[in-house]
């Protein structure tokens, strides 16, 4: 601390240097990685650099990307969610079955599916806050419970012949000759919405504070229990939107869907520079993380690399990302 005798001038609010602050942003690494990957693949495949291919990448990552928004929220609170893929699969089946059976109008079916997902999120949140239990264990248990429920409720049958509103997000529109699905647009909008909520509202500041230290947050008057419950519930609702995106993309209700999406969403979050220890990270980073995975899969595929190597490279990237996070934390201590 430098205790000055004269009151500090306006330089106090100005900041050290914009460049240094920009270099300190956690999204810089992921952004650089994404751009490098794009350069690499455009040099190695003439089909990579096109609007249509990018549109395809976004379509491929939108479901996991949306799940990863919820995952980001939870990881920012120093939690983790292993059940998000399962919750999404169940939400998808609920929407598809209710709509296909004609029990309720399609839009109502969608609403019920969203609410069911939010409710599972809320149960996770309750168990984490009220008892309290470690998020890892709670969501691991929930993963199994919801997986089983999905198979019981669907009787292991894929639901087909879905009415139009359920697949509407799979419809496309054109931007300058490139066709884009409404689902891709919705995913991007969701990322922007949560980027806004996290950086521009008190709620967002509180999520970070909670992830830094629940005790500090509590002592500053934040109702940490209610906040945590809210985060898990909102995450659940986002998984519901992911369910709708999934149904619209595949055109069916698939009880087998989303089985590795929990880990894939964590991968996107970690690649995006968000710390698994909570309190540090940006949801835009998660979008970059999801795109990195998508671009690698797509680019390697275009280069004719077998898909098992895509998995291998994703794994290496995750370990790299966590290493960078750990090392930068040590430096800050």
């Amino acid at each position: 601390m430098t205790t000055t005798t004269t009151p500090p001038g306006p330089s106090l609010a100005a900041g050290p240097s914009r460049l240094r602050r920009a270099l300190g942003t956690p999204t810089l690494g992921p952004l650089a990685a994404l751009l490098l990957a794009c350069v690499f693949f455009s040099l190695n495949s003439d089909r990579f650099l096109s609007g249509g291919n990018f549109s395809l990448v976004i379509q491929q990552v939108m479901v996991v990307g949306t799940l990863a928004i919820g995952q980001t929220l939870i990881i920012l609170t120093a939690g983790i969610d292993l059940s998000n893929g399962a919750i999404m699969a169940f939400g998808g089946i609920v929407m598809a079955k209710l709509a296909a059976d004609g029990v309720v109008p399609p839009l109502v079916a969608i609403a019920i599916g969203l609410l069911v997902c939010a409710a599972f999120g809320a149960v996770n949140g309750l168990l984490v806050t009220a008892i309290p239990l470690p998020p890892f264990i709670v969501t691991l248990g929930m993963l199994n419970v919801v997986f089983a429920l999905t198979h019981v409720y669907s009787a292991d049958q894929t639901v087909v012949n879905l009415p139009a509103p359920l697949t509407a997000l799979g419809d496309t529109f054109a931007i300058g000759g490139t066709t884009v699905t409404y689902g891709s647009l919705l995913t991007i909008l969701l990322f922007l919405l949560f980027a806004y909520l996290l950086s521009q509202t008190a709620w967002g500041r509180h999520v970070y504070a909670l992830g830094n230290s629940p005790e500090v947050a509590r002592l500053t008057g934040i109702r940490t229990g209610r906040l945590t419950l809210g985060v898990y519930t909102v995450a659940g609702l986002v998984y519901g939107i992911a369910a709708l995106l999934l149904v619209s993309r595949t055109g069916v209700g698939d009880p087998q869907a989303g089985q590795t999406d929990n880990l894939d969403s964590i991968t996107a979050v970690v690649l995006g520079g968000t710390s698994l220890f909570g309190g540090r990270g940006l949801v835009i980073g998660t979008l970059l993380g999801a795109l990195i995975v998508g671009v690698f899969r797509n680019g390697l595929q275009l280069m004719g690399v077998p898909s098992i190597y895509q998995t291998l490279i994703t794994g290496v990237l995750v370990i790299l990302a966590v290493t960078v996070d750990q090392l930068s934390r040590r430096r800050n201590r």
């Binding site: 601390m1 106090l12 521009q200 500090v216």
Partner: protein, 275 residues
């Protein structure tokens, strides 16, 4: 002392707090006068932490009453105490590490933009919060490189500066500092002590809980000695030396009224150099 018309800012009478078999507070009294730095000292287990927790709403006493500015109060939780104008700076540098200084200053009490942006879109007024933070920092003469810097990039003393500035900014009646120098080096401790003086000079009374006798003697106007769950003495640093205060703390010396110190345990008194 009884015939002075000055109303204590914060008072406690006969506080009792039991944890099962253990009695942490056994009829403790407490008085904080306007504009003073009151040090609260006591051996481990003397009940000073419980006393402070009761005064700041973190613990609810089983018996006794707390009086703020002459009116009895009952704090449900720390937030309630804060609403009553009692702010606490905790020893473990209670700031959110990854948030910037302005966000920390306004954590839990954020300012929103005026108009629709604030009411409908709940948008924070970062600019106004930074400006206000800069003003509070300047008032306490805390120099910091940048308000947009994450608190984790600051030194321990700077972080404590942020915590103190936040407490002072919001405290209407009392600032409580729980071992504010425990985690700091010599130079930074000195800076925090300077800060405490400036807080007092602004007319805000400070309760300082500290194990560090030199710090207590350097800065306190009065010392509250807690022992076995009660207040056993209220003294002025000028009237007793450090050895005597330690003796009071450990029970070797007893203060009856005013300045008369009575040795109650000759062996203990000899052991610490009094006779």
């Amino acid at each position: 002392m009884t015939d002075t018309p000055v109303v204590p800012v914060l008072q406690a009478r006969g506080l009792v707090k039991r944890y099962g078999q253990v009695t942490a507070l056994d009829g403790a009294d407490f008085d904080l006068m306007p504009g003073e730095v009151l040090a609260v000292i006591g051996d481990n287990g003397a009940g000073k932490t419980t006393l402070i927790k009761a005064l700041t709403g973190a613990v609810q006493p089983d018996e006794g009453e707390i009086i703020l500015e002459g009116a009895p109060v009952r704090f449900r939780d720390p937030l309630d105490a804060r609403r009553h104008g009692i702010e606490t700076v905790y020893q473990d540098l209670a700031v959110a590490a990854s948030l910037d200084i302005a966000s920390n200053m306004f954590l839990g009490r954020e300012l929103r933009r005026r108009g629709l942006l604030g009411t409908v879109f709940r948008m924070l007024d970062h600019k106004r919060m930074r400006k206000e933070s800069a003003r509070h920092m300047a008032e306490l003469k805390i120099g910091l490189p940048s308000l947009t810097q994450a608190v984790e990039t600051l030194s321990g003393g700077q972080r404590q500066g942020v915590a103190v500035a936040r407490a002072v900014a919001w405290a209407e009646h009392v600032v409580v500092m729980d071992e504010p120098t425990a985690a700091l080096g010599v130079k930074e401790s000195g800076q925090v002590l300077d800060m405490i003086r400036r807080v007092r000079d602004r007319g805000l009374p400070v309760i300082l809980i500290s194990h560090n006798m030199p710090h207590v003697f350097e800065i306190a106007d009065r010392i509250h000695v807690q022992r076995l769950g009660r207040r056993v003495a209220q003294i002025r640093p000028g009237d007793h030396d450090m050895a005597e205060v330690v003796a009071i703390m450990t029970g070797a010396l007893r203060v009856e009224s005013g300045k008369d110190a009575v040795i109650t345990d000759q062996d203990a008194a000899r052991a610490i150099g009094l006779s």
